[in-house]
């Protein structure tokens, strides 16, 4: 019988095509927002988590300042002092410490001058960690020799910043000549792929920043628990800090790579929940549109409802017919929203990949599609529930008399 009720419902929708379409567009917009944003944010999450997972499990990041104040740390120019780095080195269980620092510098190549982010890393001690634990790989060329004025560049440097730049090219930074010896494979996001790397000693020599570092990466010894080493580093840093009392020193953030992955993961989850929350509002507004249309429809069809009841339709039949109508609004609106949403997600994905902005792959899963369909259908049915109840409660005598 449900087939007949669907027929009856669809026939009445087709009698009011403009209103039906407008009602559905309300749902389309909501579901479009949910699906496109969820699939894109899902993609961003996967990409970031993948990059984080490339990091070795036994790595520990040490940054000055509180984690909650990460922006202040980066903008405010807080630094780890040489004392701090010594303290980290001495912490129990620390194998190697790689201080890292960076600065925007003008770079000249064949008469062109561009600003690049110059990273100082200790090649002698740190190259192993960069390669095995941070996932840096050479696309061409070789790694620089410690102490020499040699540079290796991110993937996008010869692609985007100095198009046509080759391995072996000469560049000038602060009046000093450097040689490009290697180009990295893509890491997956535009800012990392646009950096150039130089030995820390050389970095200090040319920038004049002779001490300290913006951050440091420590590697735990294999037979130590990473979280234990994190605690040791924290303790040592606290002690150095106490020795220099009188100064208003900032605290430190010491995180294992697992912790970072966890923190970033939960931030991404929160972001997705927030996105879902906001986009849901749009769907609910669409649902209110359905409810409005359904109330109007019930009102217009009071007489028809009376006729159906007179020829034997029970209340639940009337409820069912109206729920099918509103569910149909939801479902068709949902399908439209899913198609448009996935379409937008794909377009953004293709744009990001061709522009090397971010290694983004829109996450289009059957679960997401099913969720979109179910959500829109349920919203449709819920919105139709009260109008349908109202219709079913009409007494046939009154309904038939209604003009």
């Amino acid at each position: 019988m449900i087939k007949e009720y669907i027929k009856i419902a669809i026939k009445s929708l087709r009698r009011r095509p403009v209103r039906s379409w407008l009602t559905m567009i309300g749902v389309v917009i909501g579901i479009f927002l949910i699906i496109s944003l969820l699939s894109l944010s899902g993609g961003v999450k996967t990409a970031i988590m993948q990059q984080l997972r490339m990091m070795g499990k036994d790595l520990i990041m040490i940054m000055p300042g509180e984690l909650t104040d990460i922006v202040t740390t980066f903008i405010g120019g807080l630094e780890l002092t040489d004392d701090d780095i010594e303290a980290i080195k001495k912490a129990k269980g620390v194998d190697v410490v790689v201080p890292m620092t960076y600065k925007g510098e003008a770079m000249r190549h064949k008469g062109e001058k561009k600003t690049v982010l110059l990273c100082g890393v200790p090649i002698e001690d740190g190259l192993d960690i960069l390669r095995t634990d941070m996932g840096l790989e050479l696309k061409e060329g070789r790694w620089p020799i410690p102490g020499k004025r040699e540079i290796f560049a991110g993937y996008l440097v010869p692609e985007d910043i100095f198009p046509g730049m080759k391995v072996g090219a000469e560049v000038t930074v602060r009046g000093k000549q450097f040689k490009i010896v290697g180009v990295l494979k893509s890491i997956g996001n535009k800012s990392d792929d646009s950096q150039v790397y130089v030995d820390l000693d050389i970095f200090r020599e040319i920038t004049g920043e002779r001490t300290g570092a913006k951050m440091a990466i420590a590697k735990a010894k294999p037979d130590y628990l990473v979280e234990e080493v994190v605690e040791n580093i924290k303790e040592n840093l606290e002690e150095t800090r106490k020795r220099r009392k009188g100064e208003d020193l900032p605290s430190y953030t010491v995180l294992s790579s697992d912790k970072i992955t966890g923190i970033v993961g939960s931030i991404m989850n929160l972001m997705q929940i927030a996105i879902f929350g906001f986009a849901s509002i749009a769907v609910v507004v669409g649902g209110i549109g359905i409810m409005n249309t359904m109330y109007t429809s019930v009102h217009e069809r009071i007489r028809e409802i009376g006729i159906m009841k007179a020829v034997g339709a029970k209340s639940k039949t009337i409820v069912l017919i109206f729920l099918i109508e509103s569910g149909f609004f939801g479902l068709v609106g949902g399908i439209g929203g899913i198609v448009l949403g996935l379409g937008l997600a794909k377009i953004v994905e293709i744009y990001c990949q061709t522009q090397h902005l971010f290694l983004l792959k829109a996450s289009i899963t059957p679960q997401l599609i099913l969720f979109g369909l179910a959500f829109s259908f349920i919203i449709g049915c819920l919105s139709g529930f009260f109008p349908a109840k109202k219709a079913s409660k009409l007494k046939p005598v009154d309904a038939l008399r209604y003009e």
Partner: protein
Amino acid sequence: MPKQPLIKLKDAWKIYQLGEVELAVLRGISLEIAPGGFVTIMGPSGSGKSTLLNIIGCLDIPTKGKVFLNGKDISELSQDELAEIRGQKIGFVFQQFNLLPNLNSLENVMLPMVFQGRPENERREKAKALLTILDLEKRISHRPAELSGGEQQRIAIARAMSNDPEIILADEPTGNLDSATGKMIMEILIDLHKKEKKTIVVVTHDPYIANYSKEIINLKDGQIIADHKRAGKVLWKK
């Protein structure tokens, strides 16, 4: 031994509450309609004819008093129980035809069978047969708006017949039709009475049908002023 009445009303009242005022539309109606009867309800407008027909047709229940259908008290049934009885035992023909505008003729005739859960092919065959009998086989896929009043009323009759009801109730079935078409509709109803042995109750002003009918109930101010079955002639005149 007299047959058990198909429909029996015992002191049935219908009272509407209009704000502070009570309006008694039916005042203590008692009547019996035997199976296979042909009953005409007559009376001036406002006399309660339609209200009486609605109660006989289980569209409404009396405020006071009892209604029996085949000996079963239906005056306390729920809306859904009444709907079930209407679907199975009663066919309605209205002055306004009351076809669903979105559905074509065939679908309109099939509708009561849909609500009774009858299978699709059975519904289709029955509806086609009824439309053919009523000379409407060429109008099967037309919608009500594309049909004349007479055609619409014949479709309504086919719809009323679709579940093989025991009773057909017609509320001014010729009221919106010209006299020739009205006569044709009345002949169909009379035919149903004669050939199909249906019990028929008609609210009408039509003297043609009143002449045919052996039982005439005259209503005035919600009360029966004459029941022709006993009086032997039409007592109420305008």
